[in-house]
């Protein structure tokens, strides 16, 4: 039984829909990679799963954590879930910590909020947690302010706050994008270690398909607020079926490749979506048929939202 089951969630602001029917499920300890360009609904998915859609946004559909339905529950219940059952690691460790609060307090806060620990006990727990995420000399480092730490250490602190209550689901929204490449690998290894230890299910959001390829068991490619292709990571990467996935992979740098392919055009604006398939204006395989919106068709463990998916997959093989 999946720990998280998301069914057909929509987020809309008035007449404008940002998420248009996103569904996926996640097993304990597994990682789902979410890829796509900026502004395709990745971060909005993260916020929706936290019950933190911006004011004015309307969230519909179903989010089930174990058997519990989250959509429609009162804010008070969301507060119990956030940070305890579902945690979020944000992109920028330079801004996601409070600059005028000691990092130890910021980790201890989570214990105080969710386990009603007294302050001194929460502080000790925070020091242990900082030790666990590999902060050197945690007892002393807990007394530091964020500006006294490096970017990598700060992201470790952020990860400590996220894992403090051993959440069932961790949403990592571009957790390494703000870090340089050598640090990326360390931070990813840390997340992997903690994930294994706590059997956490991870939703890993990134625009970097290379990082996703290493991290994710399963991959979901987002375009214009919808999943356009989903499946087991290696299968999707080896045999992409949707033209957008193909294009994303073609844009990856590879040894011996002198020119990177790029995807022509811009992602569509949500208030001005193309008729039919959202990707069709940028698609090189466009046909008259694409004036109709394709649905996400499942075939074994693969899903793709394209009229010509089978045809294109065959031609790629042959």
């Amino acid at each position: 039984m999946p720990v998280l089951k998301v069914e057909d969630i929509h987020v809309s602001f008035g007449a404008v829909s940002i998420l248009r029917g996103v569904s996926f499920s996640l097993e304990q300890g597994k990682t789902l990679g979410v890829v796509g360009e900026s502004g395709c609904g990745k971060s909005m998915t993260a916020r929706a799963l936290m019950g933190m859609t911006p004011p004015g946004g309307k969230l519909t559909g179903s989010i089930k954590l174990d058997a519990r339905e989250l959509i429609g529950q009162p804010e008070r219940d969301w507060q119990d879930i956030r940070g305890k059952e579902i945690a979020l690691v944000m992109q920028d460790p330079f801004t996601s910590l409070n600059p005028i609060m000691k990092v130890g307090h910021q980790v201890a806060e989570v214990f105080q909020l969710h386990q009603s620990m007294p302050a001194s006990q929460a502080w000790d727990a925070a020091v242990d947690m900082l030790d666990k995420v590999g902060i050197p000399d945690p007892a002393q480092s807990a007394k530091k302010y964020p500006h006294q730490m490096s970017g990598g250490q700060r992201q470790r602190v952020v990860i400590a706050t996220a894992f403090a209550c051993q959440p069932k689901v961790l949403i990592a929204d571009e957790p390494t994008t703000a870090l340089d490449v050598t640090l990326q690998a360390q931070i990813l290894r840390l997340v992997n270690d903690l994930q294994r230890e706590f059997k956490t299910a991870v939703i890993f959001i990134s625009h970097d398909i290379g990082v996703i390829a290493e991290e994710a068991d399963e991959i979901a490619v987002f375009y214009a607020g919808q999943i356009v292709e989903q499946g087991e990571t290696q299968q999707v990467l080896r045999n992409p079926m949707h033209p957008y996935t193909k294009a994303l992979l073609g844009a990856l740098p590879q040894p011996g490749k002198l020119r990177l392919d790029s995807i022509t055009g811009q992602p569509p604006r949500f208030d001005d979506l193309p008729v039919g398939c959202s990707f069709s204006p940028r698609c090189q395989f466009k046909q008259p048929q694409c004036e109709q919106a394709p649905s996400l068709e499942w075939n074994d463990s693969r899903a793709v939202r394209c009229w010509r998916a089978n045809e294109l997959a065959d031609s790629a093989k042959g």
């Binding site: 507060q79 119990d80 956030r82 940070g83 944000m90 996601s96 005028i100 909020l113 706050t161």
Partner: protein
């Protein structure tokens, strides 16, 4: 970050003023004839005596008590009202936000002194209480505006969002993560606003509806001495000097604090 020297000087002056306000009236009577009428400054009466033979220094010091008590009380009340409404104006339901902000705008459109005169008119007693209430009612809109703009920017900062993502309630996020960021800017603005309140209190006393004589508030002292302007200008000079210097000092300290807490912002001027 260093304070500029004007702010330091202002701070030192304010400390001396506060000490004088607390201590001098204990040792020197301010409410009876203690020497000859209109005496020149001497070792006994440092600033001389007024037309009733009262000690000018003692009366100025007691006036400082009144001014500081009124000013600080008013600012504290304005802070409590202003922070509460300012935060509600950011986090509250939309209709309530609009009510608060439009009402605040309305308050800005109304001349403060006129409103204060009106409110004082409602009360019967003529002590500090009606003055404090009237000036508090005119002082809070400035705090609401400041808190509202600051909180609105902080609300979308990632550490505030991540506090909520960790399961904190809005109240917790605001008190633990937001208000500490406002302390600096609020202190800076408080100083400048305090100057305005002290000036307003003096103005109300000067026109005779503030703290009533014979209690020597600075406004009363100026009002009493204006008839002596031609014969004994020094009696008028001292309260005017103290009032002006206090206003300057508060503004200097306010500017210094602002520069200190917001190094990228305005230069101290």
């Amino acid at each position: 970050m260093k304070f500029n020297w004007l702010a330091r000087l202002g701070a030192i002056y304010l400390v001396i003023l506060t000490l004088a306000a607390v201590l001098i009236p204990i040792f020197r009577p301010y409410d009876r004839k203690v020497g000859p009428v209109l005496a020149s400054p001497s070792m006994q009466f440092w600033l001389g005596t007024d037309d009733k033979g009262y000690d000018i220094l003692a009366r100025l010091a007691y006036g400082a008590r009144i001014s500081l008590t009124v000013g600080i009380s008013v600012q504290l009340i304005a802070l409590v009202i202003g922070i509460t409404l300012g935060i509600v104006a950011v986090y509250g339901p939309k209709w309530l936000r609009n009510v608060i902000l439009r009402f605040t705008d309305g308050m800005f459109a109304f001349p403060d002194i006129l409103l204060a005169i009106m409110i004082i008119g409602i009360f019967n007693d003529r002590g500090m209480r009606p003055v404090i209430i009237a000036l508090s009612i005119t002082a809070w809109p400035a705090v609401v505006r400041l808190v509202k703009t600051q909180a609105a920017t902080l609300k979308d900062r990632e550490f505030v969002v991540s506090s909520q993502a960790l399961g904190a309630s809005t109240f917790y996020t605001v008190t633990r993560h937001m208000l500490p960021h406002l302390v600096g800017i609020l202190m800076a603005v408080l100083m400048v606003e305090l100057a305005g309140t002290i000036l307003a209190e003096s103005a109300l006393s000067f026109i005779g509806i503030g703290v009533q004589p014979p209690t020597p508030s600075w406004g009363n002292l100026i009002s009493d001495a204006k008839n002596l302007m031609n014969s004994n200008p020094m009696v008028l000079f001292w309260p005017c000097l103290i009032l002006s210097v206090t206003i300057f000092a508060l503004n200097f300290v306010g500017d210094g604090l602002r520069a200190h807490f917001d190094p990228k912002g305005s230069e101290p001027n």
